[in-house]
Amino acid sequence: MSGPVFTGAVVGLVVGVLLTAALVLAWRLARGTRELGSDSERATFSTLHLASRAAKHLRDGLEGDDVGRAARHLRTLLGCEALAVVTADGVVALDGPTALRAEAQRVGARTIETGRRQVYAGAEPSSGVPEAVGAPVLAGGVVAGAVVAFATRVRPPLVRATGEVAQWCSAQLELGELEASRTALAQAELRALRAQISPHFIYNSLGAIASFISTDPERARDLVLDFADFTRYSFRGRGDFTTLADELGSIHSYVELERARFGDRLTVTLQIAPESLSTVIPFLSVQPLVENAVRHGLEPREGGGRIVISARDEGTQTEITVEDDGVGMSPETLRTLLATGSRATNVGLRNVDTRVRQLYGDQHALEIETNEGAGTLVRMRVPKSQPQHETEVSRP
């Protein structure tokens, strides 16, 4: 690249860095002069700050990877010479000279065994081993481990502070467990929400197939195969995610079965941008939207109608819409429906909405445009990048 380009680059970079630095500095100054506070206020602030930084590293439990970092913050907090976190398995974190490991192990084991605070002071000042205080950390009422603090001379304030820190750690561990169980609950809810085939649909399909067996055996055979395909897809055991292409395959079978009942009164059109076919979507998240359009949009209407399924590329997201020209509903009905779900109908719509919210966040909630007699349009936006979500792949 030419000289001027780089001169431009350098000047731009330097100016940018300087501007940012100046802005940050100005902001700091403006804030600092106003809110610096007295010495005791600052002490409170720094204590709380250290505690909140340590808290983050304790949330994974005492077996987590980050306990070492928590130990560092706790040592600063207590102002002691070394600090160790000990569990029944041994020392899990030690901030200080490694020579203290054995001593920490001994004090910790004793603390865990007794479940009470232990103070080892006034032994032999000449031996070089600092004095220690150990305090138990409880989780769910059981001793989970111990915090051991070392100081050349352990004085009552340190003993008391260590006890308080250990109690605070217990609270953090319990919060961590709460968080873990909340995640587990959310996952269980997600699994429970995994859409089910409605019994209604099974009766209707079998009825439709039966009506064709004598008049058009060829068609009946195709329909049975479609039914098999659809149920195989819907009943598959593992995998909470699928690709749009696979989901559309299942929708194809579904639509064929519905058309057996509706005949020519049901038209389904697809407008799919080929780029969007490999997008990962929650398993059975588009099919319920189509089923909803059939059941609540077109079925109540005399002459059937038309459904348009479209998918398009939206930069980092894929936009999937399902539109019907059926009866629609008033916005108020829709609102109560999505909010309470008191009615047994339209379960599919609410189900999909809850799942995409849980998986991708509230900004990915379904967007629904509808009014009485004006049809319904449901729009779903899915992020393209989902490296954590594995689709069920057809391995042999």
């Binding site: 690249m1 380009v5 001169t7 680059a9 292409a245 059109t269 697809l270 490296p387 042999p396």
Partner: protein, 489 residues
């Protein structure tokens, strides 16, 4: 050359692009037709799209210009550009597709589970992307001054406006087909004139002097070995680090088809480079007077009207100009889409609205940059981007796919070391101006030492990282490397 033909050609190109972009999707189908006809994007279409995005102004105009200027040594560039895809094919195409990531930062975050590593990657991707858009805008400025009596900024601003408008207005509805179409426009726009020129020249009795076409002193043997090796290394590895390559592979349905796509891409871009280099060689014989820096890049535009008199020549020129605009638009819009994706995801949580604003921002920055700088040697500008991408991102991506001990700290260390060293070397070179000697070669083509150093930094820091690789690493790597399905037949 002030006739209206070039404008008509560019207008037709824009119209066709718009039609394909907006009506490509409008062909509605009933469900069964859809599944018979097009279940997925065929590798050949996707490959055309990738090639269309990859062949930038730098290669469309610059390659023939560089061949004209420096003869045989210019051939290292197409060799490197095409062979870069060989490395993509061998090492990253399949695994990256299977990763399910859409952009390079997404991949890094998923692999290392580190927000810090993601942010560093995003910044580098942004820098690389911006640097890559600049030569496209320079190319536009160059073309517009050749065809019409207007100031150069008209071209840059025009292309930037079209690109940001198209991307911000919701993007092309079927971007794959648009890019694929533009690849074929680019190829025909050079291939037809070249065939015509060869036919015209074939009738004349040219006293061809091999020493003029391949001067021995500019041949590969006399070319500085270090510079050549370093340049090739950068071109080979740089392709892996380009921001808009991974995005297109996402369209492939699985890893196997991503690999096939890459194979087709290599064939397609090789064909293009062959045509483009031929244009340069023809110019070396019949238009040696154009061999001046700054002018040489226009040779593909000027040559047809020189050799083919009358309307025929003007038509050919118009075709080349349409192809050049396809190159600016294709590469820039591909880059802006992937950059806007990164910006909107990192800063605004990836909403559609923020994507549009990011698209505008991602065009304005390189436009400003292009306006304050003077276009020179399009191929070398693009080459610099490859050097930077190869030093900054390629080690992390390659090690991320193939080395399980990689940690977030290692990746960050490697990216920072690679990009800082490379940027410093290039800046020092540009500050010192042209010169000779081994030290200057080391600075002018730093890839041969920055890439190993970046890799070493990554490896050393990863190995010394007390926290070790992320616990989910094995699971993620298995996903990258296990094929989706056994061969069906």
């Amino acid at each position: 050359m002030t006739s209206a033909l070039p404008l008509v050609a560019v207008g037709l190109l824009l119209l066709a692009t718009g039609l394909i972009g907006f009506y490509g999707l409008r062909i509605s189908r009933t469900t069964s037709d859809f599944f018979v006809a097009s279940r997925t994007v065929q590798p050949v279409w996707n490959a055309s799209a990738i090639s269309g995005e990859y062949l930038s102004a730098g290669t469309f105009l610059g390659l023939s210009g560089l061949v004209l200027l420096s003869g045989a040594e210019a051939f290292w560039f197409p060799v490197g550009y095409a062979a870069g895809y060989l490395l993509v094919l061998l090492f990253v195409a399949g695994p990256l597709r299977r990763s399910g990531a859409y952009t390079i930062p997404d991949f890094v975050q998923a692999r290392l589970d580190s927000l810090a590593a993601r942010r560093v990657t995003s910044v580098l991707v942004l820098v690389i992307g911006w640097l890559y858009v600049v030569p496209q805008l320079h190319g536009a400025a160059l073309v517009i001054t050749t065809v019409a009596p207007v100031p150069p900024w008209v071209g840059s601003v025009g292309v930037a406006a079209v690109v940001s408008a198209v991307v911000a207005a919701g993007g092309m509805r079927s971007v794959t087909f648009v890019q694929a179409f533009q690849f074929w426009v680019k190829l025909t726009a050079l291939a037809i004139p070249v065939v015509f020129l060869l036919v015209v020249l074939g009738g004349q009795d040219l006293a061809l002097d091999p020493a003029q076409v391949f001067p021995p002193e500019a041949g590969p043997r006399s070319y500085d070995t270090y510079t050549t090796v370093s340049l090739l290394l950068a071109l080979l590895l740089g392709t892996i680090g380009l921001p808009h390559v991974l995005v297109r592979f996402y369209t492939s349905p699985d890893g196997v088809s991503a690999r096939w796509t890459t194979v087709v891409v290599i064939g397609m871009i090789s064909a293009f480079y062959m045509v483009s280099s031929t244009m340069g060689l023809v110019a070396r014989v019949v238009a040696p007077d154009l061999a001046e820096p700054g002018v040489a890049d226009t040779v593909a535009l000027v040559l047809p009207s020189r050799l083919v008199p009358g309307v025929g020549g003007e038509l050919l020129s118009a075709l080349v100009i349409a192809g050049a605009f396809a190159a600016f638009l294709g590469t820039s819009s591909g880059l802006v889409v992937s950059l806007a994706g990164v910006v909107s995801q990192d800063l605004f949580g990836g909403t559609v609205r923020s994507f549009r604003w990011s698209a505008v921002a991602c065009t304005i920055v390189p436009l400003a940059f292009a306006l304050v700088t003077i276009p020179q040697g399009l191929v070398t500008s693009v080459g610099t981007v490859f050097v930077f991408a190869a030093s900054a991102l390629s080690p992390t991506i390659l090690l991320g796919v193939w080395w399980r001990r990689l940690t977030a700290r290692g990746a960050i260390a490697g990216m920072v070391v690679g990009s800082a060293l490379c940027a410093a070397a290039l800046l020092v070179t540009s500050a010192l101006g042209p010169g000779d000697g081994l030290a200057r070669s080391l600075l002018a083509q730093p890839a041969a030492w920055t890439i190993p150093l970046a890799t070493a930094a990554t490896v050393v820091v990863s190995l010394r990282d007390r926290r070790g690789p992320h616990p989910r690493t094995d699971r993620f790597l298995r996903r990258l490397h296990v094929p989706e399905r056994a061969p069906e037949r």
